[in-house]
Symmetry: C2
Subunit: 342 residues, 2 copies
Amino acid sequence: MGSPVGLHRVREPAGVLPQAAWRLDARPEIEPDEVRLSVERLNLDAASFRQLTEAHGGDGDAVRDEVVKIVSERGKLHNPVTGSGGMLIGTVDEAGPASPLGLRPGDRVATLVSLTLTPLAVTDGLAGWDGRGEQAPARGHAILFARSAAAVLPDDLPATLALAVLDVCGAPALTARTVAAGRPVAVLGAAGKSGALSLAAARRAGAGRTVGVVPTAAERDRLVAAGLADEVVLADARDAVAVSEAVRGALGGEGAGVTVVCVDVPGCEHGAILATAGGGTVIFFSMATSFTAAALGAEGLAADVTMLIGNGYVPGHAAMALELVRTEAGVRRLIEARLQAD
Amino acid sequence: MGSPVGLHRVREPAGVLPQAAWRLDARPEIEPDEVRLSVERLNLDAASFRQLTEAHGGDGDAVRDEVVKIVSERGKLHNPVTGSGGMLIGTVDEAGPASPLGLRPGDRVATLVSLTLTPLAVTDGLAGWDGRGEQAPARGHAILFARSAAAVLPDDLPATLALAVLDVCGAPALTARTVAAGRPVAVLGAAGKSGALSLAAARRAGAGRTVGVVPTAAERDRLVAAGLADEVVLADARDAVAVSEAVRGALGGEGAGVTVVCVDVPGCEHGAILATAGGGTVIFFSMATSFTAAALGAEGLAADVTMLIGNGYVPGHAAMALELVRTEAGVRRLIEARLQAD
């Protein structure tokens, strides 16, 4: 039997959990409590894909080669610069008799744990991917531990849409849990996947006025058309003063009770803090968040705000996010538009 | 009049808050809402001092020279590697007529906002400091904005003790706010300044069983003698499995309701998450915390825990921490012992 959290797959350094490991053992043979998936598609997380694209000046072939190299060296898709990964779609190839995940051979699933801790081998050099979008068709295998999470893909949604939604499904679930009835909510990066889902979840959870912050007129128009926010405002999320003024302007001078950060670029901590009312909460979902910038920023602004590290796991998160995309036409339109743009 | 958050002191890049700036303007002339302090002593934060010491192989002169260089280049003591700073003691030299901080010339104060955003000039090359401890005697000046925070030093405590306590006073205040009555609390790095204060604060707030985790037998003996925890256990906080087993062992198999991370080394995120019960909360106070390691670690362990970025500002934090050190002999002994060891 393997370790439920995958300690037996850690190659180096010894003694750490798979996510902290430099290298995992991605051998295809499974322990009785493991599951092996046949990989169909990788979904790089936004921060990682953006970093790779910028590092290679937009050269898709170079991005692809680097992803192949990372997987080959580390036994997992774990971007060493951003520290982030993504998720994948695959089909259950073999489920150990002691696996508690309830999966059966042939089930088509999306992994709900990060690729940064999922043993992975790629066998086709990602030949079917041009390196220019977050979703990469792939052949190979991946391993799930006893304490992993995966969702069987729904029949009624396209796989690419389901994967995109499941990739960020922690955001709407944690937003819904955090929102207080009647209190205003601001979402930075509101026209993205996690932003749109978080806005919809906030409204369902009984939020007061909702404000979506976006960086461009095109995103503003799309978000207005989607009808997910009471107010849509334009601001660069890295410009702390501009963000704060935009949100407070939309809320009649008041700060947000909950501010949700879904912008995948560094430097958005201070704007989120300044936009939040005293006693309010900031939820950071962006993997580009700096812990010290947030901690010292709030202290330096003498801001009495609660700051949450966006945990990608909340019980029931996958079902909730899929339900939002089924029932909120605006969410679905926004996410499909982004997938087409990729 | 200056900007209340100090925007007028940002030299580069333009448009960011002082904490995010590469360089501040530390000119001594003040705006009507600013305060100028005559500096007496700098207190480097633990993560920064440790990084500098390791980078220079324990050479105190080299550490001192680098701190002088940082302040001279950046107009603030902002360690570019750790992103952290510290705080200072000084005397009010001039208080602008519009300053809301209530300080008067001659007041001896400690700053409660980070040195990473405090305009600072050092004029003595830190000649009185050997570079081997966190507290550096210094001559020069520093600037407080309208929206800063500073505490007048109490007459009944030595300045070095008060400074050490005020430096981490956010930790006990946020711990007290987070603890639920009767629920167990674990503190990693429990024999340090913030750890000891957090343990005492948790107990006062009505915590159930308290567990202190320390890395060495010497610290264990000191913490047992201080009488601040119901259980004291030995574990390397970077060894996730060891930490979890130690905490759960001390709690009869249960996880902690609140786990407080006060260890100033990287890699403690996973142990804290594993040591925490489902539905519980982890508070990260260490500036060495990795946002992505925490977010992806919790997701990868399918751990339903709330994770807080330790905000150094909580209303009333300074008074609460000073009161703890006055009334809890064990806390005072531990902190004084650490100061002597410096």
